[in-house]
């Protein structure tokens, strides 16, 4: 199974940042969702971030909330998430980071969840509503299940905390570019350059940036600020929403957008 380490070191040699699209599994339904993810892989995704829908996603803005609702209405469940990941891995061996809200992991049984999803092919599980202060609840079970750990850093995370977060992260640091929830934004946050710079000085762990990256030029700026990966969520989830009646067009627009981003972030300019 391809690891984050392999992917980031290959990309590092090529001086490229990783293209990391985010989708809600099962949005708008299981089969279309799988076709979307395959399209994203074909368009050059280096890593995937996949979320299992939750009824109360407090870290998400309207676009991803609606995706969660679509997926749940179409019958998506945690258990079907396992099957989905297996199918993606059969298509291509690409690292998959799961993005979860804690209650779903907790109800499944944290250790069992990590074990089963590792077996299905996930590389890491980021729990959006569990901070580094409670890392003990997930790090040990994640590591013993064979998963990497991913934690978030936000623009208001202090330097000591950044160090602590880096010390417990084996996959990559999910760097949130804004004070806010996920969502499409016109402008890139001006906090991002400084934040990536600070983290780079503190740690050798890969730094991936997400939240609000909505244009190819945003991605290019993030990559040239030194980020190891660019996570794009709401923008492409929005392309699902705006093309719900037309699957071909949906796939084409996602493919076009991701290809465009891919070309602007590679090769990385610094």
């Amino acid at each position: 199974m391809k690891t984050y380490k392999q992917v980031f070191s290959e990309l590092g040699e090529q001086k490229r940042a990783a293209l990391i699209p985010f989708f809600v599994i099962g949005d708008p339904d299981f089969d279309t969702s799988l076709a979307i993810v395959k399209t994203a892989i074909d368009a050059g995704a280096d890593v995937l971030e996949l979320g299992i829908p939750f009824s109360d996603p407090i870290a998400d803005g309207p676009t991803i909330q609606k995706a969660d609702i679509r997926a749940m209405r179409s019958g998506m469940t945690v258990r079907k998430g396992l099957e989905f990941i297996r199918k993606v891995k059969n298509y291509k061996d690409i690292p998959i980071g799961l993005l979860m809200y804690y209650n779903l992991v907790y109800q499944y049984g944290t250790e069992q969840f990590f074990t089963d999803f590792h077996q299905a092919g996930a590389n890491s599980v980021l729990v959006a509503d569990l901070s580094i202060d409670d890392a003990d609840e997930i790090v040990e079970p994640a590591v013993s299940a064979g998963l990497d750990t991913v934690f978030m850093v936000t623009p208001n995370t202090g330097p000591e905390r950044m160090k602590l977060i880096a010390s417990r992260t084996t996959g990559f640091i999910y760097t949130v570019s804004v004070l806010g929830v996920t969502g499409i934004r016109e402008k890139l946050s001006d906090m991002i350059g400084g934040l990536v710079g600070k983290l780079k000085k503190l740690t050798g762990v890969p730094i991936c940036v997400g939240f609000g990256i909505s244009k190819a030029e945003h991605a290019a700026t993030v990559a040239s600020a030194g980020a190891d990966g660019v996570i794009i969520g709401s923008k492409i989830v929005g392309l699902i929403e705006s093309n719900l009646g037309n699957r071909e067009k949906m796939l084409a627009e996602i493919s076009t957008f991701l290809s465009e981003v891919k070309s602007t972030i590679s090769p990385c300019t610094n």
Binding site: S55, A59, Y106, G180
Partner: protein, 392 residues
């Protein structure tokens, strides 16, 4: 964070990283000011002259005759704003002021906490935004209007069932994007640490007063103390005064909605399972995989699928008991108190009254039961009118 905010294994602060620094700031400020001489004096003055504390303890003679034991009402309904919520909003509002915050946000279900926050926003000259589900906006329209008159903006929330849970989701999202200048004035003794501790602290006045009033007026402690439980603030407020009095039974009454067996209720402690929502580990109403259930109750203030962490611990240790009252019995109890005492209770504490009605013939005549009458029923007259049309 300095403290873990745990009640047994319950509570904690399960929130995204971006909210940790603001919760830390709140925790720090709370412990800096809550015993500060000037802060305490200013809060005491406002509690007395603005809110109307102490609230009275009233022996409800005719209601007592009806149920067959002695019922005393802790009259939080007489406070400014019409509910216990002002105790908390004065406390947290003052904290916000001491912290130099210029903007307040709050969630609300019944609109009582929203109103109490809007009042304090006006009092301190702070810009105030209230997040409220669309279902609640419709069923508690009088409070919406009052909030606006106090100068607050009411933000309608469409998500989910348009009730309290959805309002909290969006208030948290808004706060995430406005952490630098905005104080989130949380309405109940639940949510992430330090809120359960902060809100409880500002509601303990209910329990302290009640205990002293019992000793002065009755000459002894009550046998039972009853309160309704939504998030749990009025209940933990009054329970706190009696927690060490082991002979005093503490009973929390949750929303039984249509009925427990119908699944359409909000009886979290009675029928829930432990999980994590809105920053805390607590009993939740949820499906097998952990998706949070939609709840249903005639009372907007109890229509919530989680509950404060301290109540979870009190349930597990057996120190408090939790039961549910169904909508129809609640409406009966509302009618009974109105008729026998000329006091219109809010539908939330009508749950506590419904429990008393269920004890008719089970408690002996000398038993003394104190009910926290957490709010008045003006806001609910429309609902009662619809559910129980008056015969002419």
């Amino acid at each position: 964070m300095k403290y873990k905010g745990r009640f047994g294994d319950y509570g904690g602060f399960y929130v995204p990283e971006v909210l940790i620094p603001v919760l830390e700031e709140l925790e720090e400020a709370f412990y800096r000011f809550y015993e500060d001489e000037q802060f305490v004096a200013e809060l005491a003055q406002l509690s007395k002259n603005y809110a109307g504390r102490p609230s009275s303890l009233y022996y409800a003679k005719r209601f007592s005759e009806h149920v067959g034991f002695k019922v005393y009402l802790k009259r939080e309904d007489l406070l400014h704003g019409g509910a216990h919520k002002v105790n908390n909003t004065l406390g947290q509002g003052l904290l916000a002021k001491y912290m130099g915050k210029a903007k307040l946000i709050a969630e609300t279900g019944a609109g009582q906490h929203g109103l109490a926050t809007a009042m304090i926003g006006a009092l301190f000259g702070m810009e105030t935004k209230i997040f409220m589900g669309v279902t609640d906006i419709e069923r508690q329209s009088i409070n919406v209007h009052k909030m606006k008159l106090c100068g607050a903006e009411v933000v309608p929330i469409e998500g989910g069932t348009g009730t309290l849970k959805d309002a909290i989701n969006d208030a948290l999202r808004y706060w995430t994007a406005h952490v630098t200048d905005t104080f989130y004035l949380f309405g109940s003794a639940c949510g992430p640490h330090p809120y359960p501790t902060v809100v409880k602290h500002f509601q303990t006045c209910i329990g302290k007063e009640t205990r002293q009033q019992c000793l002065e007026q009755i000459g002894r402690l009550p046998d039972i103390v009853v309160a309704c439980v939504g998030g749990g603030s009025n209940a933990i407020g009054i329970f706190s005064g009696f927690i060490d009095d082991k002979n005093v039974r503490l009973i929390g009454v949750e929303a039984g909605g249509r009925s427990l067996s119908s699944g359409k209720h909000a009886a979290t402690l009675v029928a829930g399972r432990v999980g994590i929502l809105h920053g805390a580990k607590a009993y939740l109403l949820q499906d097998k995989e952990g998706q949070i259930h939609d709840t249903e109750s005639v009372s907007a203030g109890l229509d919530y699928p989680a509950v404060g962490p301290e109540h979870c611990l009190l349930k597990d240790t057996g120190r408090a008991e939790y039961v549910a009252a169904e909508d129809e019995d609640v409406l009966d109890a509302f009618g009974l108190l109105s008729k026998t005492e000329g006091i219109l209770p809010a539908l939330e504490p009508s749950h506590a009254l419904a429990f008393l009605c269920s004890q008719k013939g089970k408690l002996d005549a000398e038993q003394i039961v104190v009910v926290n009458l957490s709010g008045r029923g003006d806001k609910d007259v429309g609902i009662v009118e619809k559910r129980r049309p008056l015969e002419n």
